[in-house]
């Protein structure tokens, strides 16, 4: 089609240019009349034709487009790469041919010493070899300087030694006896082969040492050809025999084939069920995809190894993110995309507990715990059912009993889009039921079941998130196992699904953080802090890689946490004390790997300690405390007793319980609360020292500022190992870091030159000239000189590039030409040989005939 269209177009354009046969005809008629004019027209015609050619060969012409040049309507640079190439090729051919003609006819001295030009031999080896050869030559009968013996030496040395030549001819005068060209070839062979025995052998076969007489040559040739002929005849005979045998058996074979065919037809009619089944099985087996060897079960070791590798890889990536030098694109390329949300992720969604996390293989510890959890949960489910029997209805039909389960579980679930909708599905006081409902929803809306399910579940996860935060504000705590279980379930689910619904949950996290921040700004202790804020920030720490330098969720979370530490009032509000210490612990946990410094934690911890220790006004060296600009005063939380009784065992603090205590106004409860928190804050300080303070350059200042507080606390409490240990640690680190302190040397880089900006005045300055600074104007101008040098450097570089290109092209062409020549030579050789064979064969044929006749005649004679 395309060809046809092309042709049509060509014809059309020819017609348009007035160059069709008709116009030619007309022209030819008018040719006689107008001579000069006609020539002009012919030129026009040529031009028109070339234009058309160009049009139909658009790739011959290449135009360098330049935005500015286009705009200025300048002439575009038009290149014809194809044609240029061709011209170059032709030039090269001409040159090559002339070179080939000259070859062997003119030239310089060829160095034929042993090993010259052989890269494989070292200089020493060469010298050694040459030396032995020299010695051998000397050892032979005549002196080297006997010119007559030169022939012999030459032969022995294979011409490698000492024989000087001129113009490719031996200087010894024996030159004509040897074919120069052959000699040359031999040398090239010799060089490439590295001058071994093998080449010597070739030498004996391929190159007769002595010129044979013509008769001898002919004899040899005839003998050879006879031998070949006999061999050929023998194989021919054998072939003939085999073909004969096959021909005889052919009929039998055909019979058998037809028989098989017929048999099949009859079989088809009377196929048994068994056969059909069998065939079905066979075809099935055939169509079945073969199990691939890669799918084999991996050994435990292998799994372990893979796991370790994966962790290593993750760690590497995390490290990069921590340094903050990762490129976005790279992340995109490497990172998981929403699409690779494989089926396997949802496969296990029926699983208990772990439910929706199955996709992630790294919860091996989870799996270990799972069985217990599972049975636990099943029991719970069973035990919970009787409770809800009020919701079940039992319909009895005959012997069958149909149990209709309560609506919440069984009814067709819609995927809730809002918290309100979700609450319609659940009984808010029955936490197990809620877990079941959530699982049910996830099961019903598995993404593989219907389109759009994935999005729906994403929204549902957001709803769950909201629900989680609402739940966390309930006055429930660790005593309520069911509560703990649903909280763990929800947090785990959200944490695991974050990977799948990155952007959706990012929005959720941001929204909740924003909400917390706004409540914080309202400066209302009823509004902030809430228990849900603690849960939210912990969940963020658990879900995201908190060691990242840049992170869309972690950095805002840190900011919100730090902001609350900055604005909370531990001097006035008990909840603030607890929440603040919790936040300090959480932030230290965030920074457990990256060990970044958070000044707010330091200042908050000092504030808390000062406001809850006894007699703060008696602290010695209070000037050392960083946050104190004047003597600390006692607050409403300052204990009245002089010596505190503090427990030495590490207690796990329950958020809900502490919250409750912080709201209570009873004297003894407050005391208990504060005593817990004193110990807790000392512990926090302990981790703060190891995680944040120890490795900073400001360690002496930071440790020193805590020392007075801890000393004071030791003085005003019964002996307590936790406090004393922390005190010792502080003192140690202060001592060590102070010893190791060296003045800063941040500017240790090489000196840099100062940019020269001094103006330069030139008498010959010409504002009209294009470049204001050129070497012509002022040969001493350093800038002009520099520019000039740069220009020349650039030119050299360009030239070099061009020359290299040219050389490369040349060598390529040479190689091609050589191959061509070789081919031609081989062809010539083969055709020559073929002719010789032919002639011999005909001769032999004649001889054979004669022999046959003779034989016959003799027979007859008998």
């Amino acid at each position: 089609m395309a060809g046809g269209a092309q042709l049509k177009k060509l014809r059309e354009s020819l017609q348009n240019a007035g160059l069709t046969a008709n116009s030619f005809g007309k022209k030819s008629k008018g040719k006689a009349r107008k001579g000069a004019q006609d020539k002009l027209r012919k030129d026009d015609k040529e031009r028109a034709l070339s234009e058309i050619r160009e049009k139909f060969n658009p790739f011959d012409v290449k135009v360098t487009r330049n935005k500015r040049a286009d705009a200025m309507e300048k002439k575009l640079t038009v290149g014809k790469p194809g044609i240029n190439k061709q011209i170059g090729e032709e030039n090269r051919r001409k040159e090559y041919e002339s070179r080939m003609q000259r070859k062997g006819k003119a030239g310089g001295i060829i160095d034929r010493r042993f090993g010259e030009g052989n890269v494989q031999l070292s200089a020493e080896e060469k010298m050694l070899e040459r030396f032995t050869k020299e010695r051998l030559a000397k050892a032979s009968k005549s002196s080297m300087y006997n010119l007559d013996d030169d022939d012999n030496i030459d032969f022995q040395d294979d011409g490698d030694f000492g024989g000087l030549t001129h113009l490719g001819q031996s200087l010894s005068g024996n030159g004509p006896s040897r074919d120069t060209i052959d000699d040359d070839d031999f040398f090239s062979k010799k060089r490439s082969a590295g001058a071994d025995d093998e080449s010597a052998a070739v030498d004996e076969n391929g190159q007769p040492l002595r010129k044979k007489t013509k008769a001898e040559v002919m004899k040899e040739v005839i003998a050879k050809s006879k031998r070949y002929k006999k061999e050929r005849q023998q194989t021919h005979l054998e072939n003939q025999e085999k073909v004969g045998e096959l021909d005889e058996e052919f009929e039998n074979v055909m019979d058998e084939i037809s028989e098989v065919n017929r048999g099949k037809q009859t079989d088809n009619v009377e196929k048994t069920k068994f056969d059909i089944d069998y065939e079905m099985k066979v075809t099935e087996a055939k169509l079945d995809r073969r199990a691939k060897p890669t799918d084999r079960t991996k050994t435990a070791e292998e799994i372990e190894k893979e796991e370790a590798e994966r962790l290593l890889e993750n760690e590497k990536k995390r490290q990069e993110r921590m340094e903050g030098d990762i490129e976005d694109e790279e992340v995109r390329a490497e990172g998981a995309v929403g699409d690779d949300l494989g089926d396997d992720f949802w496969n296990g969604s029926g699983d208990e507990e772990n439910g929706f996390s199955v996709g992630s293989p790294d919860n091996s510890s989870d799996e270990e715990l799972e069985p217990a959890d599972e049975s636990d949960n099943e029991n719970d489910v069973k035990s919970s059912r009787p409770k809800s029997t009020s919701g079940e209805t039992v319909i009895t039909i005959g012997n069958k009993k149909i149990v209709v389960k309560p609506k919440t579980v069984k009814a067709k679930l819609t995927c809730p889009k809002t918290l309100k909708e979700f609450k319609l599905h659940i009984d808010e006081n029955n936490f197990e039921e809620i877990v079941i409902v959530i699982k049910k929803i996830f099961e019903t809306y598995q993404p593989k079941l219907a389109e759009g399910n994935k999005e729906k579940l994403g929204v549902f996860t957001q709803v769950l998130f909201e629900y989680l935060l609402e739940l966390s504000n309930l006055p429930e705590g660790f005593e309520n196992e069911k509560y703990v279980r649903i909280m763990d379930f929800l947090t785990r689910t959200i944490s695991n699904l974050t990977e799948k619904y990155e952007s959706l949950l990012l929005d959720s996290f941001r929204e909740h953080l924003k909400n917390a921040h706004e409540r914080l700004l309202s400066q209302d202790s009823e509004q902030f802090p809430k228990k849900s804020d603690a849960i939210l920030l912990t969940l963020i720490g658990r879900t995201f890689s908190t060691s990242d330098k840049f992170h869309l969720v972690v950095i805002p979370a840190l900011l919100v946490a730090a902001e609350s530490l900055e604005f909370m009032k531990p001097e006035q509000n008990k909840t603030d004390i607890f929440f603040g210490i919790f936040l300090c612990d959480l932030i230290i946990r965030y920074e457990r790997i990256s060990e970044r410094i958070v000044p707010e934690v330091i200042s908050f911890l000092q504030r808390v300690l000062i406001s809850i220790i006894p007699k703060p006004e008696e602290i010695e060296n209070w000037e050392q405390i960083l946050i104190c600009s004047n003597k600390p005063k006692s607050t409403i939380f300052t204990p009245k007793e002089d010596k505190l009784q503090l427990s030495t065992e590490e207690v796990k603090l329950s958020i809900s319980k502490m919250w409750e205590l912080s709201k209570s106004t009873k004297e003894n409860e407050t005391r208990q609360f504060l005593n817990h928190l004193i110990i807790k804050s000392v512990q926090t300080l302990d981790t703060l020292i190891t995680k944040m303070i120890k490795n900073t350059t400001a360690a002496p200042e930071l440790t020193l500022s805590f020392i007075p507080i801890i000393r004071h606390l030791i003085k005003h409490s019964e002996t307590n190992s936790i406090i004393i240990n922390t005190g010792n640690k502080l003192a140690n680190i202060y001592k060590i870091s102070n010893q190791e302190r060296r003045p800063l040397k941040l500017q240790t880089h090489r000196a840099i030159g100062i940019a020269q900006v001094a103006p330069r005045f030139s008498d010959r300055f010409n504002p009209d000239s294009k470049s204001s600074r050129s070497i012509d104007m002022d040969p001493m101008d350093p800038i002009a000189i520099r520019d000039e040098i740069n220009k020349l450097k650039h030119e050299v570089k360009e030239e070099r590039k061009q020359a290299l290109k040219e050389i490369r092209r040349d060598t390529k062409f040479e190689a091609r030409a050589q191959i061509e020549r070789k081919k031609k030579e081989y062809d010539e050789y083969h055709s020559k040989m073929a002719k010789i064979y032919n002639s011999i064969q005909t001769e032999e044929g004649a001889a054979k005939n004669e022999y046959e006749r003779e034989k016959k005649a003799r027979k007859n004679r008998k």
Partner: protein, 556 residues
């Protein structure tokens, strides 16, 4: 005056117990009074009616529109009536008058005063409703009109320059000295009184003569009170602050053109009011009186200090008079150590005095150094302080030891500071070293000691030394700030790195770094777009709390 009002009320009960006059009656009474002096007695009817209105308004929750309309008519009629009387010079006592005439005149004047007092009572009603506000503002307009008429007609002779300052003083007293404390704005000490704002917008800021007489009369008003209670003092203070805060009282660059400013009273005595010196002296007297009020709290001082250098000092006749006030507030802030805000705020005024009025302030840098307390970087006013500090530290005559002390101290403060504070310190120090050429202080960043010397190195900085020239900070280093390379916020950590790089940027614009806070930082974080993936934790925990949880030390 209040007593007079009461006597009127009593009179009203005796003379007239009639119910409300109708609008028509009001109109007819007015015209009859205007017709002939015989009917002057009728005025009492109107005044009684208006008194009734004031009473009803102060007791009732809300007036309906009908009643509002009625009371406004009453007000308008009364004021036009008095305007008319004023223009007839009936309210002017003259020697040429006969005794009888004088009696009538006196009686009329007392009625006029009664009316004015009624308006003041109306103003003092401390309730908010739309209609009441309308009525109050109407009354303001009418009463200001009286001043206009009085000045025009009640002067010694018609056409002579005269300003009715007696009435104006009464107005000012009632306008400025009474009000509601709850209306005071906590942030900047201004008051949210619509009547005052109306006065400010329509009269005070528009007319030069009103401004002039306000500052002339105010000291007298204050003197009239035998003993001001704390509440009144605070009200007066905040009202005056509100008036002055918005705009400068006149353009200091354009003193010549003061005569071009518009006047409310056309025949105001020009010689007096166009004297800038007199105005400045009055202004100064007023403010010194005000600042001497004993009931003022720290908040009031803070709010006045914030505007002192711009709105008050330039208009003082003799600004040195503020010297004691400023130095005192400054040292109060430093010495008590608890409220450096006061010092920071007074610094502006002090600087103004030092710069333009040649104030000698001994040990200025020592006191400045004392402001660098741990609280500094947590304050909202820190940006104000750093602007000034940059100015003070830009002096090329400062010894390196002092600059180094400041740098070292600031870097120590960074250890407990929020990111917004650290972010100011870093470019500030950079600018000191590079822009203001305190290049010796580079030693704090890059010490020139040899490695052998380093082995024996002990930090010589004395943090308890109060004198910045004796702290030995120049031989120390800013390790504290250097440790912020590891700050949790990436921007802060990136900023610290400028100390590692070549110092080839001339300066940082400090303004870009002054006004950061958590809110802004969060906003920029929230506005970041999701590119690539979010870094997720690959370590997994069984639960949030308890053993094997994320936070092992806690429980739900």
């Amino acid at each position: 005056m209040a007593k007079k009002g009461k006597s009127v009320v009593n009179k009203k009960k005796i003379v007239d117990t009639k119910s409300l006059l109708s609008v028509k009656e009001i109109e007819s009474i007015k015209s009859s009074i205007l017709e002939s002096p015989k009917n002057y007695n009728q005025i009492i009817k109107l005044l009684n009616a208006f008194d009734e209105v004031v009473k009803k308004v102060s007791s009732d929750e809300e007036m309906d529109t009908e009643y509002l309309k009625y009371s406004r008519t009453l007000l308008f009629n009364l004021s036009t009536l008095f305007n008319n009387l004023i223009s007839k010079r009936i309210l002017k006592l003259r020697k040429s008058q006969t005794d009888e005439e004088q009696l009538v005149c006196k009686w009329m004047i007392s009625k006029y005063n009664t009316f004015i007092n009624q308006i003041f009572t109306l103003w003092k009603i401390n309730k908010f409703s739309q209609s009441l506000a309308t009525l109050k503002i109407d009354a303001l307009e009418k009463i200001m009109q009286f001043i206009k008429y009085e000045s025009k007609y009640l002067g010694p002779n018609i056409g002579e320059s005269y300003f009715a300052n007696v009435t104006y003083k009464k107005i000012l007293k009632n306008l400025l000295c009474y009000g509601d404390l709850t209306e005071i704005n906590g942030n900047d000490g201004t008051i949210n009184d619509y009547l005052l704002l109306e006065f400010q917008e329509l009269y005070f800021e528009k007319y030069w003569d009103l401004r002039f007489y306000l500052f002339q009369e105010l000291p007298n008003i204050l003197n009239e009170f035998d003993e001001l209670n704390e509440e009144t003092e605070r009200i007066i203070f905040s009202k005056l602050l509100t008036l002055v805060k918005k705009n400068p009282v006149y353009d200091t660059n354009d003193k010549q053109n003061i005569t071009e400013l518009p006047l409310f009273i056309k025949n105001a005595p020009e010689n007096t009011i166009y004297s800038v010196n007199t105005f400045n002296n009055n202004f100064e007297k007023t403010w010194i009186n005000i600042l001497n009020l004993k009931g003022l709290k720290e908040e009031e001082y803070k709010s006045i200090l914030t505007i002192l250098h711009k709105r008050i000092i330039p208009f003082f006749g003799n600004a040195q008079k503020l010297m004691d006030f400023l130095t005192l507030t400054y040292s109060i802030g430093i010495e008590n150590n608890n409220d450096i805000i006061l010092s920071i705020l007074s610094l502006n005024g002090l600087w103004e005095l030092m710069k333009s009025y040649n104030l000698e302030y001994p040990s200025f840098y020592t006191n400045l150094y004392a402001i660098l307390t741990p609280n500094l970087l947590h304050l909202k006013e820190k940006s104000r302080f750093f602007r000034l500090l940059e100015l003070f530290m830009s002096s090329t005559h400062l010894p390196a030891s002092i600059v180094a002390s400041f740098i070292k101290r600031l870097s120590r403060l960074s250890l407990t500071s929020p990111p917004s504070g650290i972010v100011i310190i870093i470019p500030f120090i950079y600018n000191l070293i590079k822009k203001y050429n305190h290049s010796t202080c580079m030693l704090l960043i890059h010490s020139t000691t040899t490695n052998e010397e380093d082995l024996k190195y002990i930090d010589p900085f004395d943090e308890n030394e109060k004198d910045p020239s004796l702290t030995n900070a120049i031989d120390s280093s800013i390790w504290e700030l250097n440790s912020m390379v590891n700050h949790y916020h990436p921007n802060v950590s990136a900023l610290v790195k400028i100390f590692y790089q070549f110092f080839n940027k001339f300066s940082y614009n400090l303004e870009d770094f002054l006004d950061w806070n958590y809110n802004k930082l969060l906003e920029t974080e929230f506005n970041k777009k999701l590119k690539g993936e979010i870094g997720l934790e690959f370590e997994k925990w069984d639960s949030m709390f308890d053993d094997n949880g994320y936070m092992e030390d806690y429980l739900y």
